[in-house]
Amino acid sequence: MSFEQSAGLETGPGIALAGLGASNAQGRRWPPRVPEDPLPDCVPDDLVEAIARRQDREAFKRLFAAFAPRVKAFARRRGAETQVAEDLAQDVMLTVWRRAAQFDRRKASASTWIFTIARNRRIDMMRREARPAFDAEDPSLQAEAEPSADESLAERRREGDLRRAVARLPETQSQLLRLAYFEDKSHGVIAEELDLPLGTVKSRIRLAMHKLRQMLKEDE
């Protein structure tokens, strides 16, 4: 019996996010298959929690559709071959499935959580290439000491503000931030590519960070 079936049988209808995991190919069980999106209001946070609570394969499919292509793009931008980037996407999504219970929406959004998993698993994969005998669990998932609950909550509230602030940055600045985050390039290489002096790149990245901080302060 698959997880999907067992989850459906055990929890039945009426659970939060009704319909997650209860549909099947034959469409015999509740709820009946509907043509439109069965989970219209589910944000990624809910989907990860659905996996944590009842190993919800439908939620996984949705997360996979939303995030696996981004993980692949992230890996490609960091210089990975297509196949390696595909493997990383697989690996990250599998980690999301297995570690879903560790996700805590009070600390970070699902996108941030998945982004940090992608970052950490990419490091693991590169180590595997360098040292075949030295394969890994994910050491960095438990890297940092736990901040207090109050601090986590405050961080989480700020995350929404941060997101809005990033959207309001001028394109030149958000472009630089994207380069700094998603290209496997030192600030020096970025400078060459943009045909700017290194000092200018550094000061522009600093400026972008400064601007973000200011926008966050204004929001408070």
């Binding site: 698959s2 997880f3 190993q55 394969r57 996984f60 499919k61 996979f64 696996a68 292509p69 981004r70 692949k72 793009a73 992230f74 490609r76 960091r78 595909e86 499935w97 297995r98 600390k107 970070a108 996108s111 941030t112 982004f115 940090t116 992608a118 970052r119 950490n120 990419r122 490091i123 180590r127 360098a130 040292r131 030295f134 394969d135 890994a136 669990e137 050491p139 960095s140 890297a143 940092e144 000491a145 901040p147 961080e155 700020r158 995350e159 941060l162 997101r163 990033v166 959207a167 931030l177 700094a180 985050y181 998603f182 496997d184 390039k185 030192s186 550094k202 990245i205 960070m209 973000l212």
Partner: protein, 217 residues
């Protein structure tokens, strides 16, 4: 609370995953000892999440989802290969991220003596980057040296001083080619640190130049 921290550029490179593993390990170890940097890293990771959200995805191979679904039911233990050694986790002096990379607690590691300095090599698969635990006897001095690249030193026990400051547990000392220093360990406790250098040390003292010459042969 540590007094010497990674600069914001280094923290950003850590948060975004741009650092090679040895430097990432060093930064993660500092961060796990430093409340201030934890907050900063959380913010930088959230920024990464926001940028990640806005990233345009690349379509996957057609059968990618089916492949993933098929793997969901494979028990993890059947897939996992040799895990990290994790032997340092029980040693309270070892920051959590570093604990996973050590065979044992600090005292029972296979220290090699190199000119009075104890040394354990870690993460040896990275060409051009040396990652080591170093142990200097309390009160002892290191030969004067400079660096061709950067040297990152995270203090785990004891302390040391040089021209740039006095470093204690959790502090991150960063030296580059412009720094010609002669660190001296504090009295009282052996100084153990995690050191990552991205180019060989260049010894500059009178005796050092000689050693340097030998090292190149």
């Amino acid at each position: 609370m540590p007094a010497y921290h990674p600069g914001s550029e280094l923290l950003m490179d850590y948060a975004s995953g741009a650092l090679p593993e040895p430097v990432a390990l060093l930064v993660a170890s500092h961060v796990s000892l430093c409340r201030a940097c934890q907050g900063e890293v959380a913010r930088l990771e959230a920024l990464g999440g926001a940028l990640f959200d806005a990233l345009e995805g690349e379509p996957l191979a057609e059968e990618a989802l089916d492949r993933a679904l098929a793997r969901l039911e494979v028990p993890e233990s059947l897939e996992a290969v040799a895990p990290l050694p994790c032997g340092g986790r029980t040693d309270p002096r070892v920051p959590l991220p570093l604990g996973d990379y050590l065979e044992s607690d600090l005292d029972t590691l296979p220290w090699k003596n190199r000119g009075g300095v104890g040394e354990v090599a870690l993460l040896t698969g990275f060409p051009g980057i040396r990652t080591r635990l170093l142990r200097v006897k309390a009160g002892a001095a290191l030969p004067q040296h400079t660096h061709e690249g950067a040297e990152y030193t995270l203090l785990l026990t004891g302390g040391f001083s040089d021209d740039t400051g006095h470093y204690r547990r959790g502090d991150l000392a960063i030296a580059d080619a412009s720094i010609d220093h002669k660190p001296i360990a504090d009295e009282g406790e052996d100084c153990i640190c995690l050191a990552v250098t991205d180019a060989p040390l260049r010894l500059t003292g009178r005796f050092g130049r000689y050693l340097n010459f030998l090292a190149r042969l």
